[in-house]
């Protein structure tokens, strides 16, 4: 039956919940496009026949093929658009650099879309408030505590906090520090917020 491959694409995305991005199914898309080409060519020839030889009994099948073409277009667009939404969510979750595993699941054009999206977002964030802008991909949760538990990921040497005490940031050591002091280091990847 027509449009089965197209619906399969939709089902594939539906199966992967939680915003996961499966590999780009280039094969299936090619098959759907091929089916569309065949349907269109059949319609072209039938339309010509109906016009020149007055075979109006061809019209129902012409209409039927046209419906299949529309359905295929709609399914493919939905598949591609839903993938874009998942890719967009990745920018907000992982930041500007995507893990390699995820990048392998994206086609070149999706990568291009992602790069353009990143750029647009960065331009917008820089323009907030008229001066240096605001990184709205940070502060995703309301600040709950003044102090947070952090683990040191790399050796960073000595670190002085407000009341004068000096902490030695050695790899794998854990500390209970004021949150605002750690933010910069967390972003740089020196410290990791430990959420128990």
């Amino acid at each position: 039956m027509f449009c089965e491959k197209a619906v399969e694409l939709i089902r594939e995305l539906h199966r992967m919940g939680d915003g996961q991005l499966p590999a780009f199914n280039e094969d299936s898309i090619r098959q759907v496009l091929e089916e569309m080409k065949v349907l269109y060519e059949q319609n072209q020839s039938d339309v010509n026949e109906a016009k020149t030889e007055g075979k109006s009994e061809l019209i129902p099948s012409i209409k039927f093929r046209h419906c299949c073409l529309l359905r295929n277009q709609r399914c493919i667009s939905a598949y591609l658009y839903d993938r874009l939404l998942r890719i967009r969510a990745l920018r907000w979750e992982y930041g500007s650099v995507l893990p390699t595993a995820i990048r392998f699941h994206m086609c070149a054009e999706e990568m291009e879309w992602f790069n353009q999206y990143k750029k647009s977002l960065a331009t917008y964030m820089r323009s907030i408030g008229g001066e240096e802008g605001l990184d709205i991909t940070q502060d995703m949760k309301p600040p709950k505590s003044l102090y947070i538990e952090v683990r040191c990921l790399k050796d960073h040497g000595e670190f002085e906090i407000d009341d004068g005490t000096v902490i030695l940031l050695k790899k794998n050591s854990q500390h209970f520090l004021p949150r605002w002091k750690c933010e910069q280091l967390i972003r740089q990847g020196v410290l990791e917020h430990v959420i128990s």
């Binding site: 277009q73 667009s77 008229g130 995703m140 003044l146 009341d163």
Partner: protein
């Protein structure tokens, strides 16, 4: 906390009112809640955003000057973080709606009259246009250009769903309203009229009270 005004810096003047820092933050919180709970994109609040950003930098500057180790410092730091969270969350809400409804948002902006307030700031407008272009270019490149000639375009206005203005929202009344027309829910009901008393809370369809949110007469909660 008399120190709050020490660290919060001066006042911001707008065209008519002079807002104290406390009033500014209240306005921000109201705008944040309205944007969070409204199904559609609300009027843009660029001036408010600018004022809050200025306020935040005043507070950061003042915080640098405080004696190190002073307990007050950590509390004020928390306040700065909280305000920044509310502002970020507000802007994120707006951006999410712009992305979700991008063709409709752009259409609305294009067809508004010159005197009407803008829903998008110039930067949001640029972002929305880029988002539309980016998505169209992508769909063309990957699929549409390989399709039969009569199927090589998609009407974005039809393909992307519109915001559902009939969603229910919770609201609190700030200014008394009379004679609000409520449409019937079922066939047996008829349309009726309600009065909204100041301070009362209701659950209604957004569509009915949309203009009241815009005017500030009700607050979404």
């Amino acid at each position: 906390m008399s120190d709050a005004s020490d660290l919060s810096g001066g006042e911001e003047s707008q065209e008519e009112d002079v807002l104290t820092p406390a009033e500014l933050i209240t306005k921000l919180e109201e705008a944040w809640l309205n944007e969070k709970f409204s199904p559609e994109l609300l009027e843009n609040k660029s001036e408010l955003v600018e004022c809050v950003m200025e306020q935040l930098s005043h507070m950061e500057e003042n915080l640098q000057r405080v004696r190190k180790g002073d307990v007050k410092a950590s509390v004020h730091r928390m306040e700065i973080d909280r305000i920044r969270f509310v502002l970020s969350s507000f802007l994120r809400s707006r951006l999410q709606k712009i992305e979700k409804f991008f063709p409709h948002v752009l259409e609305k902006e294009k067809s508004r009259a010159d005197g009407d307030p803008s829903f998008l700031s110039p930067e949001e407008f640029a972002f929305a246009k880029e988002y539309l272009a980016n998505t169209e270019v992508y769909l063309q490149a990957v699929a549409l250009k390989h399709m039969p000639p009569n199927l090589q375009s998609i009407d974005m206005l039809k393909a992307v769903p519109e915001p559902c203005l009939d969603s229910f929202v919770f609201l609190r009344v700030k200014e008394k309203q009379e004679n609000i027309l409520v449409e019937p829910e079922t066939d047996e009901q008829r349309e009726y009229v309600v009065d909204l008393d100041e301070g009362s809370q209701h659950l209604m369809r957004y569509r009915i009270i949309a203009p009241l949110v815009a005017s500030g007469a009700v607050q979404l909660i």
